[in-house]
């Protein structure tokens, strides 16, 4: 942490984390258990409307931040609380250091505060010769280990009881058993004296209520209560994003925060302090209380139309809990100070581009974070925005620049793909045609964790005319949007779909001017190229002539539906919206719109146990869960649910080539889950996922086969 690194050094750190078996187990157990505890915590609660409420409360507060800060300061000052505003991390550190010096404080106890981590407060205070003790159990553990927290609410989640027992044995000079209850009691005992001897207590705050000048702190261990009661001085370090108008607003946020963080209905303690409170050892009978509000870039974020929603974060840490990358590598690699998806974004603002540039690429863009976010933040979108912003500031890497340039010209892009088809010929596996035997050119052996498919002899666009049968009185007329992977790598997915369209009297057009959907450009931070191809695609499709734009690629479907209107907001908003309105993914079209009753696969191909891998862009991107299951059943096969059905496969477009080792581990976890279900067949609805899953299953010799939904229905 803290050291400037190039991406290969970052990859090495990731490899080390991937090799840490305990970390891997702890993270995996956590990911699985969190899912259930969150589900239980929200049982019988309309989560979406609660999230909306919280997002609205926070968004309004962010908008009124300056007025709320003024109101709070007025109220608190009238009570004799010292309110400070720190523009930067250094200002905040200096202010707190000076308070310690002025009050003659030598020993400081702290309750957990991510904001204090953000500004590296402990380091600053220790450099002044002060003794600082973290009193939250997890935070104390990582402090003793000289680490940072690996999670926003569970700082020591990366450690085992055995590691903690060893640590506590060192600290106490007595052998400690690795029994968790007893380890907790060691902390109770060791820290009591620190509380009692402390001159000053430092806390963060979850809420700052402007109308009463109150801070609210949510904790479980009871340490924050001692920190704010025993010492004569209390300093609360509070980000200005924590300001809210009233306690009613705080209670709204507090309904979701503990549930989303740890699956608790409420934390053991919520402490509301409108200081300065009684302190029998202080000469005045009142504790000296300081509130240090921290800006450190927050006002700038609040004023940014794209990024202001970042401040809707309530710091629950749920975006890490569900992140497939976090699950593999843990928080020390999946954040700088702030962990998880929100950390990928805030690192850029709070800790600078150097610390953010590698991190921000470590995202499969699976959208699990967005689906779980308590503040309703569009995290995956903002991660890509940061990526693009960093590339605009620091320069675009050659690979990404080339991709952008190539994509901007469809003809160049397609002729390159055709050339690549010829170039790969000597490398093809003679026995098993569809796979590349050796990886060409730019790919190193690192990427060889799955077998890569070959580029097709004849792309779908050149096959279409032969396959196309004119239909009299068609039920629907559709434009088929192929996306580049199916057009050039898996034309057979589209061919299978064509057999179904013919059967159901559907007139298919294939707009030849269509290009890549543009998502790969977005994911590599090439926004302007993404915009160019979006415009090309709009021009390619005759919107009035078709009922629907059907695509067999969930990523294309999601990007055309949500991404394109965002990209073209200032260019062609109406046309983009009309275009997006007509886009439907294949499963929805066949099941809900055409309403097929059965499919061709009955007979020899029926009766297989069939698991479904739901592409991220289908289940979370488009909110579709049911149609593919129904189609599997209609195909005469038996749909088998799997625990990780909606977990990312690790492809994530360029992610799998930027971080192949992490991608491979995510993939393996997925394949293990399918193997465990006893499925004969794994079906999905995205060529990218097919590429990852089929290649991985082949490489690892898995017993099940992988195919696209269209191949299942019309083999």
């Amino acid at each position: 942490m803290g050291k400037k690194q190039d991406i290969s050094a970052y990859r090495k750190r990731l490899d080390t984390a991937l090799d840490n078996q305990f970390l891997r187990q702890a993270m995996d157990k956590f990911a699985v258990a969190y899912r259930t505890s969150r589900e239980n915590a929200f049982a019988q609660i309309d989560v979406d409307s609660l999230v909306k409420q919280v997002a609205d409360v926070k968004a309004a507060a962010v908008e009124n931040m300056t007025a709320l800060l003024e109101q709070f300061t007025h109220k608190a000052s009238a009570c004799g609380i010292h309110v400070h505003l720190a523009d930067s991390a250094e200002d905040a550190n200096r202010i707190i250091g000076e308070i310690a010096q002025k009050t003659g404080s030598k020993r400081i106890v702290k309750s957990k505060s991510m904001t204090a981590e953000e500004i590296h407060l402990n380091r600053w205070l220790e450099n002044l010769g002060l003794e600082v003790t973290e009193t939250d159990l997890g935070e104390w553990i990582v402090q003793l280990r000289k680490e940072g927290p690996s999670h926003m609410v569970m700082p020591a989640i990366h450690l085992s009881r055995f590691q903690v027992a060893d640590l506590f044995s060192d600290v106490t000079g007595t052998d400690q058993d690795a029994e968790i209850d007893r380890l907790v009691k060691v902390a109770r005992k060791e820290l009591r004296e620190k509380f009692v001897q402390a001159d000053m207590g430092i806390t963060g705050a979850n809420y700052a209520l402007a109308d009463t000048g109150t801070i609210g702190i949510a904790t479980n261990e009871g340490n924050a209560r001692l920190v704010t009661t025993l010492p004569k001085v209390h300093v609360a370090l509070v980000g200005i994003d924590k300001l809210l108008p009233t306690i009613a607003d705080a209670l709204t946020v507090n309904r979701i925060l503990p549930k989303n963080a740890t699956g608790q209905a409420i934390t053991s303690y919520v402490t509301w302090i409108t200081g300065p409170s009684e302190c029998t050892t202080a000469p005045s009978g009142k504790r000296e209380m300081h509130i240090v509000f921290l800006d450190n870039g927050r006002k700038k974020i609040a004023a940014d139309p794209v990024f202001s929603q970042v401040l809707q974060c309530v710091r629950c840490g749920a975006c890490a809990n569900v992140c497939p990358v976090y699950r593999m590598v843990g928080g020390h690699q999946m954040g700088h100070i702030y962990i998880g998806a929100i950390g990928l974004i805030t690192t850029y603002f709070f800790h600078g581009m150097e610390n953010a540039k590698n991190l921000v690429q470590n995202c499969t863009n699976c959208g699990a974070c967005k689906a779980v976010c308590a503040g309703g933040i569009d995290l995956p979108h903002l991660i890509k925005e940061i990526h693009a912003r960093i590339q605009d500031e620091a320069g675009h890497p050659l690979q990404s620049l080339l991709l952008g340039k190539v994509l901007k010209s469809r003809k160049l892009f397609h002729s390159l793909l055709r050339t690549a088809h010829l170039a790969q010929k000597p490398l093809l596996d003679k026995k098993e045609k569809p796979y590349l035997r050796h990886l060409p050119m730019i790919f190193s052996s690192d990427h060889n964790f799955r077998r890569l498919p070959a580029i097709a002899d004849v792309p779908f666009r050149d096959r279409f005319e032969k396959l196309h049968q004119p239909v009299k009185n068609p039920r629907f007329t559709i434009a088929l949007f192929s996306g580049c992977v199916q057009d050039f790598v898996y034309p057979e997915h589209l061919e299978a779909a064509m057999r179904g369209f013919v059967q159901h009297n559907i007139d298919v057009t294939f707009p030849m001017g269509q290009s890549c959907c543009g998502l790969p450009a977005v994911s590599m931070g090439e926004k302007s190229a993404a915009r160019d191809v979006a415009l090309q695609n709009l021009d390619a499709v005759d919107l009035d002539g078709v009922d629907y734009i059907v695509t067999l690629c969930a990523s294309c479907a999601s990007h055309l539906t949500h991404g394109v209107p965002k990209l073209l907001k200032h260019y062609a908003p109406e046309k983009a919206a009309a275009f997006a309105d007509k886009v439907v993914p294949y499963s929805v079209f066949m099941n809900d719109i055409v309403g097929i009753a059965s499919a061709d696969s009955a007979g020899a191909n029926a009766g297989r146990k069939t698991a479904f891998h739901s592409p991220c862009h289908l289940c979370r991107g488009l909110g579709i869960h049911h149609a593919p299951h129904a189609l599997i059943e209609k195909s005469g096969n038996q749909y088998v649910p799997t625990d990780e059905e909606e977990t990312c496969c690790g492809f994530g477009g360029s992610f799998s080539t930027t971080f192949p080792a992490v991608s491979n581990e995510i993939l393996t976890r997925k394949l293990d889950d399918v193997t465990g279900s006893g499925a004969d067949l794994l079906v999905t609805e995205c060529p990218g996922c097919v590429l990852q899953l089929r290649g991985g299953a082949a490489k690892q010799g898995r017993k099940f086969t992988v195919c696209h939904l269209s191949e299942l229905l019309y083999p």
């Binding site: 700082p155 109770r188 261990e221 009661t229 209670l251």
Partner: protein
């Protein structure tokens, strides 16, 4: 007494009891203050000796049990004091709790409100002794009348605003005993606060 918007007191008490039990609080239904006190002293009499968290200045008699009851009103405190007479080893205090940094056996406080949907106690803790009693004790006993239970925190926004308004106020929401899951996400009860929470839920004041 039925409140039409929030369901009956009885329903609220039932929900409160269920939710508090989910977070390992012990809820004892009692008639009135007298029964609450009896039950409290019974718990204290059965309690194992204190596990001191710090060496204390004075040597203590191992059979002694320290009971702090700082926020009971004058009459109630006298009543409790009377009852303690029957237990010679109980040492009842109401202030100077800082003299017991290593811990006290039991802290008794009245609770201002209960919140049914989370099983939460709301305790006005402006007074330092009240705070210390609920933090330094091994067992926290809270006296709560059923009529003071509200359906949700949200439903009592005005009452809460009144509590937190005013310089020097310190209001505590207490839900179960202190806890952590910081090691391997395994729940452990009793970290820096009480090891157990007992709630005497009184039908009458």
């Amino acid at each position: 007494m039925v409140n039409t918007t929030t369901g009956s007191t009885k329903d609220l008490a039932a929900t409160f009891t269920q939710k508090a039990s989910l977070v390992s609080a012990f809820v004892h239904g009692v008639q009135d203050l007298t029964e609450a006190m009896d039950k409290t002293l019974e718990l204290l009499a059965q309690k194992p000796p204190l596990d001191p968290q710090m060496a204390s200045g004075k040597k203590r008699n191992p059979s002694e049990r320290i009971l702090a009851a700082p926020n009971l009103n004058h009459d109630t405190f006298l009543q409790l004091s009377d009852r303690c007479g029957a237990f010679p080893h109980i040492h009842l205090i109401r202030d100077r709790l800082r003299d017991f940094p290593g811990g006290i056996d039991m802290g008794v406080t009245t609770a201002d409100f209960g919140i049914a949907d989370t099983g939460t106690l709301v305790i006005n803790s402006n007074d330092e002794q009240t705070r210390l009693a609920t933090m330094l004790c091994e067992i926290h006993v809270a006296f709560l009348t059923t009529s003071a239970i509200r359906e949700t925190a949200f439903a009592m926004t005005d009452e809460l605003t009144a509590l937190v308004t005013g310089c020097g106020s310190y209001t505590a929401f207490v839900t179960g005993a202190s806890r952590t899951a910081d090691i391997e996400r395994v729940l452990a009860i009793g970290v820096h606060g009480p090891l157990a929470l007992h709630i005497m839920l009184m039908e009458k004041d």
